[in-house]
C-alpha cells in the first residue's frame, strides 16, 4: 500500500503581514504610558510633563502668537538652506558625473571637505557672514550639499550605458544627454539624497539655533530649559518631530510626482 505525503508550504516562515491594528496600538500605548507615569505623579512635571499639559501649553503658545514666530523663522531657514543646498548639490553632482575634468577637480575637494562636521563650521560662517540669518542658512546649505552632490554623482554614474548610446544614436548632444538621460537616471538617487539631507538639515537647524539665535524652535527649546519650563521644551520637541514627519511626507509625495514611471500599478 502506498502512502500519500502532503507537501508542506516551506515559505511559511517568510510570510510578512501588515498587522494594521498593532501599528496603531503601539503608538497609542506609548502615549498612554507617558500619560500614566506623569499623570499619577510618579514622574515630576519638571522632568517630564504629561502629554495633555504639553498639548495645552502648545495651544496657549499658538494663541499668544509665540509659537508662530518661532516656527516661521525656523521654516524660512530650513527651506532656504535645504533648497539652495539641494540645487547646488544636484548641479555639482551632474557636472562631476558628466565631465571627467570636473570629476578630477571636484572629487578630491568633496572627499576632503565631506568628513568635516558641518556644525563645526558655524563659528567660521558667523565670522564671514555675521550672526544673522545668513550663517544659519549657510550651515544648513553645506549640510545638504554634500549628500546631494554625492548621491547625484552616483546616480549619474549608474545610468544605463545602453540608454546613453540610444540617445546619442538619435543625435543627442551634451545638454540633451544631461537633461534627458542622466538627470532622469539619477532621480531615484537624488530623492534618496533629499531624504538624507532633510534629516541633516533639521539637525543643523536646531544646533545652529541653540548656539547662535534668539528665535526659532531650537532657541525655544534651549530657552525653556534655562527657565526650567519643561512643558515649553516638550512643545518644541513635539514640533520638531512634526516637522520631520511633514518633510518626510512631502518628499514622498514629490517623489511619486517626479517618478511616475516607478509606480507599479
Amino acid at each position: 500500500m502506498s502512502t500519500r505525503l502532503p507537501v508542506p508550504d516551506r515559505t511559511r516562515a517568510l510570510e510578512r503581514r501588515g498587522h494594521p491594528v498593532v501599528r496603531v496600538a503601539s503608538l497609542v500605548t506609548l502615549v498612554l504610558l507617558w500619560e500614566l507615569v506623569t499623570g499619577t505623579g510618579w514622574v515630576q512635571p519638571l522632568f517630564l510633563p504629561s502629554p495633555l499639559d504639553v498639548l495645552g501649553t502648545g495651544f496657549e503658545m499658538l494663541r499668544s502668537g509665540e509659537l508662530v514666530g518661532h516656527v516661521i523663522t525656523s521654516l524660512r531657514r530650513i527651506v532656504l538652506g535645504f533648497g539652495l543646498g539641494a540645487l547646488l548639490g544636484v548641479a555639482v553632482g551632474l557636472a562631476v558625473g558628466f565631465w571627467s575634468l570636473a570629476e578630477a577637480v571636484g572629487n578630491p575637494l568633496i572627499a576632503a571637505t565631506f568628513p568635516i562636521p558641518k556644525i563645526a563650521l558655524l563659528p567660521l560662517l558667523i565670522l564671514w557672514v555675521g550672526i544673522g540669518e545668513a550663517s544659519k542658512v549657510a550651515v544648513i546649505m553645506l549640510g545638504v550639499f554634500f549628500p546631494m552632490a554625492i548621491n547625484t554623482f552616483a546616480g549619474v554614474r549608474t545610468a544605463d550605458p545602453l540608454l546613453i548610446r540610444a540617445a546619442v544614436s538619435f543625435g543627442a548632444g551634451r545638454w540633451s544627454l544631461i537633461r534627458k538621460v542622466l538627470l532622469p537616471s539619477a532621480l531615484p538617487m537624488i530623492f534618496a539624497g533629499l531624504r538624507l539631507g532633510a534629516g541633516t538639515a533639521l539637525l543643523l537647524l536646531v544646533a545652529a539655533e541653540m548656539i547662535a539665535a534668539n528665535s526659532g524652535i531650537g532657541a525655544l527649546v534651549l530657552n525653556a530649559q534655562n527657565l526650567m519650563e519643561t512643558t515649553k521644551l516638550m512643545v518644541g520637541i513635539v514640533l520638531l518631530s512634526l516637522l520631520g514627519i511633514c518633510s518626510h511626507w512631502l518628499l514622498a509625495r514629490l517623489e511619486r510626482l517626479a517618478l511616475p514611471w516607478r509606480s507599479h500599478s
Partner: protein
C-alpha cells in the same frame, strides 16, 4: 584582434539586407560603424546623395529595446524628433502616425514597464522610423523575445517594410530569420569578421509564413548553414558566448 577585416559592402536603396554570422563575428560592430556609434580604425562608411532636411541618415533599433523608462510611449517615439529640432505639433503628428503604423494605438500614455516585450520593441521600431532615416539599422531586434512573439513581430516588420520600403540593415544570428526577411543575406566569418559570401534570396514579396517550406527557402538555409557550421563550432570551442 580587430573585430572586422577587409569588409566591403554596398547596401542598395529600399533593400532589406541581413547581416548574419556566428557569435562574435563583429556584425554588431559593423552596424555600430554605420550608425556612427563606433569609429573605424581604418576605412569609412559613406552615404550616397544629399542629406535631406529633417531626415536622419540612420536610426537604430536595439536588441534590448533601449527605451527611456521615464518616457511614455508617445514621448519615447518623439525623442529622435526632439533631437532633430522639430516643433511640438509636428512631433506629435509624426509620432502619432508611427504609433499607428506599429500597432501601438491606445498605448500612447503607457510607460515601457507596463508593456510586454513585443510591444516594447514596437516602440523601438516606431521611435526609429519616426525620424524617417535613410537607413534603418536593426541589431538583433527580436532575439530578446520568445519564439512565438518573434515570428509575429517578423511578419509585422515585413508588413511595415512593404508599406514604407525603408532600406534596412538587419543583424541576426538566426539563419531562418535572415532568409525569411531579407532580399540579400551577407554571411560573415568569425572574428575578425570577413564577408564569406552574399546570398540573394529567391523568394517573392510579400513574404508569407507558407514560404518557410518552399525549396528556395530551404536551399538558402542549407547553403548558409553549411558555410558557417565550422565557424560556429570553432567559436563554441573558444567559449565565446
Amino acid at each position: 584582434m580587430p573585430a572586422l577585416h577587409d569588409v566591403s559592402l554596398t547596401v542598395e536603396s529600399e533593400e532589406f539586407l541581413a547581416l548574419l554570422g556566428p557569435s562574435g563575428c563583429g556584425k554588431s560592430t559593423l552596424l555600430n560603424l554605420v550608425a556612427g556609434l563606433t569609429a573605424p580604425s581604418a576605412g569609412g562608411v559613406h552615404l550616397e546623395g544629399e542629406p535631406a532636411r529633417g531626415r536622419s541618415a540612420t536610426a537604430m533599433v536595439f536588441q534590448e529595446f533601449a527605451l527611456f523608462p521615464w518616457r511614455t510611449v508617445q514621448a519615447n517615439v518623439e525623442f529622435g524628433l526632439e533631437e532633430a529640432g522639430l516643433g511640438a505639433s509636428e512631433r506629435a503628428r509624426r509620432a502619432r502616425a508611427h504609433i499607428q503604423l506599429t500597432g501601438l494605438a491606445g498605448f500612447e500614455s503607457k510607460y515601457p514597464h507596463q508593456l510586454s516585450g513585443g510591444m516594447r520593441q514596437r516602440v523601438g521600431i516606431a521611435r526609429a522610423l519616426a525620424v524617417d532615416p535613410a537607413v534603418l539599422l536593426m541589431d538583433e531586434p527580436f532575439s530578446a523575445l520568445d519564439a512565438q512573439t518573434r515570428q509575429l513581430m517578423q511578419e509585422e516588420l515585413l508588413a511595415i517594410w512593404e508599406r514604407t520600403r525603408k532600406t534596412i540593415v538587419y543583424v541576426t544570428h538566426n539563419i531562418h530569420e535572415a532568409v525569411f526577411m531579407a532580399d540579400r543575406v551577407v554571411v560573415l566569418s568569425r572574428r575578425p569578421g570577413r564577408v564569406l559570401t552574399m546570398i540573394p534570396v529567391a523568394l517573392g514579396r510579400p513574404r508569407t509564413e507558407a514560404m518557410l517550406g518552399e525549396p528556395a527557402f530551404l536551399a538558402a538555409v542549407d547553403r548558409i548553414w553549411s558555410l558557417i557550421r565550422s565557424q560556429a563550432q570553432a567559436a563554441l570551442r573558444e567559449g565565446e558566448a
